[in-house]
């Protein structure tokens, strides 16, 4: 046992000795996505990097490989330990991340949210919001309705099915709930007939979509909710010979959806510009870390973000009631504009 103890002491001493002096200070902003390895968050990372380069920020991008709240928390704690200036997080689970945010604030860091919010957490300084959830839900349903009944969308008649991802994903569930609410409130002729969870793979989405086409031969529209469902459902539409006969839409990034939009299998896709969202996140973090109290502005104002002027559909606004920095309205991606984006 003595040997054991001594080797610990020795190792620790060596560690202390080697521990150098911290490098000269640059502002560092971290962003924790919900998971890494999907094109969407990759685009946010690219946007964040671009902003970091422009404003001279040290940008750290770290996230879990599964949609896992404990993992996110672990990464968050590690970032607090690193003493970054501002941490943005795409929240998976509000309750668990809130105490960590309070810890961060107590340690003098600036915690804020981006992409997905923790609205009831007092420590969260503000939320960088891609588009309002209500707007996103409406964009899908409106798009379906207007194509079903071009004269008067509110008279549209048809069945709609959802192919979602993991059943535990809060944002996907929120969108589906909002879509359902909107349909029930405004479109008496539309009916949501199925809500399937395909997990995280395209193959499963393919299978579920194929079976949905069999189960509901008169299906008017199918919605691939997460980007993991997009290629699977698109392929299913093609293979079932329904290209052009069914409205296929969803929240798919242009890169994933491009092939299906070109072939006509996918009618339109709704998203926002994640590159710009990542850029905006780092910009906001940079401002806050410099002591600019963006979150204290009491009135709604438009913000001009250097470097984002030429991005389409970007109209950054500060909404004080909800403490939101809004990127802009949802981006509708169709055959006409799909080639313009690279994310």
């Amino acid at each position: 046992m003595k040997r054991v103890l001594w080797s610990i002491v020795l190792a620790v001493l060596v560690g202390w000795a080697i521990w150098g002096v911290a490098a000269e200070r640059t502002i560092s902003v971290a962003f924790i996505p919900q998971l890494i390895g999907i094109p969407y968050f990759n685009a946010m990372e690219a946007g964040g990097k671009a902003a970091a380069e422009r404003f001279g920020v040290n940008f750290i991008y770290q996230g879990p490989i599964d949609v896992s709240a404990p993992e996110q928390l672990r990464i968050f704690d590690a970032l607090i330990a690193q003493g970054v200036d501002a941490i943005a997080i795409a929240v998976l689970d509000e309750t668990s991340i809130c105490p960590a945010m309070e810890r961060a604030a107590a340690a003098g860091l600036i915690p804020f949210t981006s992409d997905s919010d923790a609205p009831n957490c007092p420590a969260r300084r503000l939320f960088v919001c891609q588009a309002l959830n209500e707007d996103l839900a409406r964009a899908i349903i409106d798009g379906i309705a207007i194509r079903l009944s071009p004269g008067d969308p509110y008279k549209a008649v048809g069945k709609i099915a959802f192919v979602s991802g993991y059943p535990t994903a809060v944002n996907l569930n929120t969108w589906m709930d909002l879509m359902e609410e909107y349909v029930n409130a405004k479109f008496p002729g539309l009916k949501i007939v199925a809500r399937r969870y395909a997990g995280g793979t395209a193959a499963e989405a393919y299978r579920q979509a194929m079976d949905l086409f069999t189960a509901y031969p008169d299906l008017a529209a199918i919605v691939g909710v997460p980007s993991t469902s997009i290629p699977g459902v698109g392929q299913a539409v093609e293979d079932a010979g329904l290209t052009g006969k069914i409205i296929y839409t969803g929240y798919g990034s242009p890169l994933t959806a491009r092939d299906y939009i070109h072939s006509g299998a996918m009618t339109f896709s709704v998203l926002w510009d994640p590159w710009a969202l990542g850029y905006l996140t780092v910009w906001v973090g940079w401002l806050l870390a410099q002591g600019v109290a963006l979150d204290q502005i009491p009135v709604e104002i438009e913000l001009r973000v250097p470097g984002l002027e030429d991005r389409p559909e970007v109209a950054v606004r500060w909404i004080p009631e909800k403490k939101i920095v809004l990127l802009g309205p949802p981006l509708i991606i169709t055959k006409e504009n799909v080639d313009k984006y690279d994310f």
Partner: protein, 350 residues
Amino acid sequence: MSTSTTFSPCEISRGGVGDTPSLLTMIRQPMIRKLQNIRPRSTVAQKQVSLLAVICLLIGVFSVLSPHFLTLKNFQTILRNMPELGLLSVGMSIVMMTGGIDISAEAALGVAAILVGKSMLQGDPAWVSALIGPITGGILGTINGVVVAYFGVLPIIVTLGAMYVWRAVIFLLVGARWLSGLPRTFDPLVKTFVLGIPIPFIFFLLITMSLEFLFRKTPFGWHILAIGNSEYSARLAGVRTRRVTVGAYALLGVLVGIAAFLYVGKHRNVEMTVASGMSLEAIAAAVIGGTSILGGEGSVIGCVIGVFFIRLLQNGLVLLGIPSIWDYLVLGGLIIAAILSDLLYKRRRT
């Protein structure tokens, strides 16, 4: 063909077990008797008959409950969804017959699929892209096999570790940029129907048939079953157990590679999470199809029925409008039910 040909003289001399013929004959006799018992018929066939009965029952129930079920198109859809899982399951059943398991198969499929996809994007000739799948799969499978056979580490631990390593490799290869919108090179092969049957399914059936032949008529198949029954006695009888084990894992790898090729051809897309959860489905299909959970017994053809059963059930769940949240439970319950029925058969036999 008599069973005694199982051990050709050269096979025994290579085994290097004993140089004294008297000892050999002593060991051989019980072994041969044992091998006759484990020829892939007996209870396996029984199980398959009852499985077919359950399938008929399910088809009956689904037809009554859903008007869209009993249509040509629906069955075409089911067949279309079978080949990739089927190949995985056939390979898995071979590994399970040796008493092993490979839960890294899904991640190996992902690695192979990415390499196939990358090669397609590079514009390699179609045959090169098609070959990359099985080669990659074979290599990955061999690695698992070697660690299992030569280092004697439990298969579950080796393949659990391997799964996470392959997933990291997938991440390295795809980065965060999925392969999407791959060229339609293989469309004529994977999207065509012959007599109303999708070509990949025919392809899958052909592979299965030849493997079934391999199992019934060649020493390799018998050796695998012998290892699963008792590695110890198999080795004493002159089976080069380590090589055969590696062979089983490599074969699974090759099948996984072929599945990867079919997958890429069909989906023209590879994402980071590709095929996650597929190993478990494959294990379930193999067990349902009659592969014994204790090893040493099983049938390749049975996997076809097992996979058909799983896909049929999943199809029925959607058609009947059962909430999707219960999908996981159904699969878990299915594995347990299959395992229990396997044990029940074992009990009754002994």
